[in-house]
Structures are given as C-alpha cells and as structure tokens.
C-alpha cells in the first residue's frame, strides 16, 4: 500500500516537473509570437513607447493596409507556387537519389554521394552572381522556372543526406518482399520505400518549405519583373530605407508566418507514429 502511494506520488512529481520544464520553454517560444501580433495591432508612435503586452486599442486596419498593399496578394500566390513546386521537386528528386545511394549499386555511387555531402558543407555566399549569369545564358533569368530550379538545387544536398541516412535504416526484408512480388525498382521505391519514409519526408518538406518561403535575396536579384516577386520581397517594402513602418511590418510578417505554420501542422502528424512498429521489429 505504501509502495503504491510512493510510486504514484513519485510519478506525479516527475510528471509535474516535466510539465514545468515544457511550459517554461513553451513560454519563451510564445512570447515573441505574441509580441509580433500585439505590435501589429499598435500604431507607429505607440509601438516602442508602450511596452505592455496588451495594447489599449486594437488597430486591425493594419492588416487591411498590408493586404491592400500593391502586389501583396500576387506575391503571396507566387510564394505559394515557388514553395510548392520546389518542395515537390526536391522530395521526388532527393528521394530517388537517396534511395539509390542507399540501396542500389552503381559505379561512382560513393563519390557522388560524398560530392553531395560536400556541397552541403560548402555554402557559397558569392554564388549569387554566377547563378545570375548562368540563368542569363540559359534565358531562364527573369522566369519562375529558373528560380524554382535554383531553389531545388539549393535544397538537394541536405535532403538527399537526410533521406539516404533514413533509407539505410530500413530493413531489407521489406524490399525483398516487394521484389519477390514482382515489383520493379521504381515500384519498390514508390510503394515500399516512400511510404515508410513519411516521417523523414515530412521533415524534408518542412525544412525546404521554410527555406524557400523565407528566401528573398536570390529572388530580388534574378527577377526584374514585379509580377514574379515572392512575398518576402514585398515585405521589405515595410522595412523602409529610413522609416520602418513597424506595425505594418509585423502584420505582414504575421500573415507570412501563417502558411508555414499550416504546412508544419499538416506535416508534423506524419512524424507521429509514421512507421508501423510491427514492420520494423518484426
């Protein structure tokens, strides 16, 4: 009886501590979000005078002003298109390559893989100019296709690395089962490997979606036409050269953060129990 009580209270205490820990971290994560949203509801002269968390007046019109901003809607759609196509491209191309590096044999496989890994480690901040000139030569410069191809290229290394590492851990028995059933290599990839890889693919999707969605430097440099600019470029308008319209900027950033949060919400449930435990342990 005493034993059970001790055990129960110990469990209660540990759970309480764990919750305390989680909540304190959660608060530090939530505070900036609140600050951003609250600032977006203030006006320019109040934003730094009044540091309280609850504003006296709620200026929802800031959001209307942002949405009305010239080109906001179109750039939002642009960003959605660029992100979707880039992420889709990366997932397909990287999972094909990752699977091949993990499971298929062909000469040069190790060298190629290390090359991709090295690319992950050698970022080239100065690569914008050669990319510009390259796209110019290919007549892809002021086009969405050119931009999307660049974005795909940027995200390939890390994604291939993640997927290959993951595929390495899948037991071969599952694929052998597929092969015995008469599946082609592509068939195994599509029907066996990909479904098993859902958690990693979810991580790859979130990672690349975030990168492409937040990108603006390459877009600004290789696009000339306003109609192709993604959302982050338009948001720069609120960060004026001298005057930053903070409330509008915060409103814009809040709106910009929403789609990514939605993507994350959708993807993170694939990370829960994405693998049938039975199939792994067998």
């Amino acid at each position: 009886m005493q034993h059970a009580l001790y055990y129960k209270s110990k469990k209660f205490l540990t759970n309480a501590l764990i919750h305390l820990f989680l909540i304190s971290v959660a608060i530090t994560c939530l505070y900036p979000l609140f600050w951003m949203i609250i600032s977006s509801l203030k006006t320019q002269d109040f934003i730094f005078k009044d540091i309280s968390l609850i504003p006296h007046q709620f200026h929802f019109e800031n959001y209307a002003n942002v949405l009305r901003e010239n080109g906001f809607g179109r750039s939002f759609v642009n960003s959605v298109i660029y992100t979707s196509f880039s992420v889709f491209g990366i997932v397909i191309i990287a999972s094909l390559a990752g699977y091949a590096f993990s499971r298929l044999r062909f000469p040069g496989r190790i060298v190629l893989f290390y090359m991709f890994m090295a690319a992950m480690m050698i970022p080239i901040p100065a690569s914008i100019v050669p990319l510009y000139l390259l796209l110019n030569k290919l007549h892809l410069r002021d086009t969405p296709v050119g931009y999307i191809l660049c974005m795909i290229s940027v995200g390939l290394s890390v994604s291939i690395f993640l997927l290959k590492t993951f595929f390495d851990r899948i037991p071969r028995e599952l694929e052998d089962a597929g092969r015995i059933d008469g599946c082609s290599k592509i068939g195994i990839w599509w029907h066996v490997a990909l479904p098993l890889a859902k958690p990693v693919i979810a991580v790859v999707v979130v990672f690349n979606a975030l990168n492409v969605w937040n990108e603006y430097i390459l877009a600004l440099i290789i696009f000339d036409s306003r109609k192709f600019m993604p959302l982050q470029v338009v948001l720069q308008i609120f960060q004026g050269e001298f005057v930053t319209n903070y409330p509008l900027l915060m409103a814009g950033l809040t709106i910009a953060a929403l789609p990514i949060i939605i993507v994350y919400l959708l993807m993170q449930k694939y990370i829960i129990k994405g693998i049938t435990s039975g199939a792994i342990v067998g």
Binding site: V25, T28, P32, A97, L104, I122, P125, S153, A257, I271
Partner: protein, 293 residues
C-alpha cells in the same frame, strides 16, 4: 543485363546530378577560380594573383581566424545546450503526456519566425536602454541583483548571449528530428524492459541512446553546418561585428564582397577556405559515427 541494371540505377540519380551540376558545380567552379584573382566585382578585367589571397587568409588575416573561432564557439554551445535541450524536450513529448500536440507546435515557432522578428524581440527583451530589459528585471526580482548585466553591450557576454538566442531559434529543428527518431523506437521495447525491472534512466541509457546514435550524428552535422554559417541573427541583435567580438565568417565574406577595393576575389577565397574547414569538421563527425555503428 548487368549493364541495363546499372543504367536503370543511374536514372534514379540522374535528375539530382543534372540539376546539381548545372546550378551548383558551375557556380562553384566560378567562385573557385575567382579566388585566384583580384577583382572589384565590376570591371570586366581581373588580375591573376595565384595563391596570394589564400596566403593572406591563412597567414595574415587575424580577423578571419577570430571569426572562425567565434563561429566555433557558437557551434559548441549549439551542440551542447541546444541539442541537449532539444533531446530532453523530444523525450518528454514522446511519452504519453497531455498537451503534447500543443507543445509540438509551440516548439517549432522559433524556427518559423523570421530573423527580423527574432532580432527585434530579443533586443527588446535583453537590452536595457532601448528595451524592457526583462531579463535583468527578472533577475532583480528573483533576488539576484548582482547578476544583472549589459548582456548585449558587454564584449565579454555578447557572444554567449548571441549563441543562446541562436540556440533558442534552432532547437525546434533538433526537437523535430529527435522526435521523429524517437517515434521509430516501438514502445513494446520499453514495455518489455519495464517488465524486466528497468527504470526510466536505465531504459534511456540502454535502449534509447544506442538506437538514437545515427540520429544524433545527423543532428550534430546539421547543427555544425547551421551554426558555423549563422550571421543574420548577429546583425539583428548587435548590428555588426562589435569590434570583432561577434565577427563570424559569413560576415567577413560579406564585408569583403561589399568593399569597393578589389576584394571580391578575396571573398571567394574566404568562401572556399571556409567550405574546406566545414568539410573537414563534418567528415570527422561522419567517420566517427560510422565507427560507432
């Protein structure tokens, strides 16, 4: 038959290799050969200087090595503080507790926020002159007034402060990947261990850690890459390199690119050197993990 098989295998990697060759290899070669020139970024003529840029980087450029040291410091803090925190949070959320879906979403908010917001908010939180200085006020309120400090303007504490904010922004990724990894360990294993009499700490040590090693290495490599290349947060928090105390390699490269004397080639050489250093570090990490398996 064998040849056809091999060709089929190549098709899998073909799209990746094609895109990679065009959009990475070609710019890389451009940057690489530019490291051997002196160029202002504008003229159509460049001056070939051979290895002079590299010689200067390795032997004369004190600020470059300081920036590498600073980035290494941030990375070290990220590898320890950030990843231990991420792991503990992932482990806590892997258990059957209430609200874990809620936490899963909340912890990913920092990575989602733009660096602009993160820089501004944290300046606000930490800075005493222009902000609410909440940290110092909390310390004073909790009874530790002598711990109050000018976190961002004191050269001794600024780098650590920046590193901690960097960890705050980044732990969400580690959390996500660790959680994904932990989820692949079926709970039956824990169950049978508990039946055998193991407590939580023992199952952590004997079951969780060994199975999670590849994931930990993965997170380690990604952390090193992400932290060594950090720079936007520094600009948001302290405005620049603060007399070298918050110099990082990317900022040094950008400074060289931005200047109007012919330093573009030098910037490219810096970029290549930086890449080489990262490759060495990452391959050491990777080989280490291979041995462990």
């Amino acid at each position: 038959m064998k040849i056809r098989d091999t060709l089929e295998n190549y098709v899998f990697v073909l799209p990746a290799v094609v895109i990679f060759s065009i959009f990475y290899i070609i710019p890389f070669i451009w940057v690489f050969q530019l490291g051997l020139f002196e160029w202002d970024g504008i003229s159509f003529t460049k001056v070939f200087v051979g290895l002079a840029n590299y010689k200067e980087i390795f032997f004369l450029d004190h600020s470059w090595w300081q920036s590498i040291w600073n980035a290494g410091y941030i990375t070290l803090i990220a590898l320890t503080f950030q990843n231990i925190l991420a792991f503990m949070l992932a482990w806590a959320c892997d258990r059957e507790i209430r609200l874990k879906n809620f936490y899963r979403v909340i912890f990913f908010i920092p990575p989602v926020l733009s660096e602009v917001v993160v820089g501004m908010v944290w300046r606000f939180i930490i800075n005493d002159v222009e902000g609410a200085n909440m940290i110092n006020r909390m310390l004073a309120g909790a009874g530790f007034p002598n711990l109050m400090h000018h976190w961002l303007s004191d050269p001794k504490t600024v780098l650590t402060t920046v590193a901690i904010v960097h960890c705050w922004k980044g732990f969400g990724w580690g959390f996500l990947i660790f959680l994904a990894g932990l989820q692949t360990i079926p709970h039956q294993i824990y169950e049978s261990a508990r039946v055998d009499g193991a407590n939580a700490w023992q199952s952590l040590k004997k079951i969780t850690f060994p199975l999670m090693i590849p994931v930990m290495v993965l997170v380690g490599i990604l952390t090193v890459l992400g932290s060594m290349q950090a720079f936007a947060l520094i600009l948001g928090l302290v405005g620049g390199e603060f007399a070298g105390h918050t110099s990082v390699p990317v900022l040094r490269i950008l400074a060289a690119m931005r200047s109007s004397s012919p330093r573009f080639g030098y910037a490219c050489a810096q970029g290549i050197s930086f890449g080489m250093i990262l490759v060495v570090i990452s391959f050491i990490q990777y080989r280490f993990s291979r041995k462990g398996q």
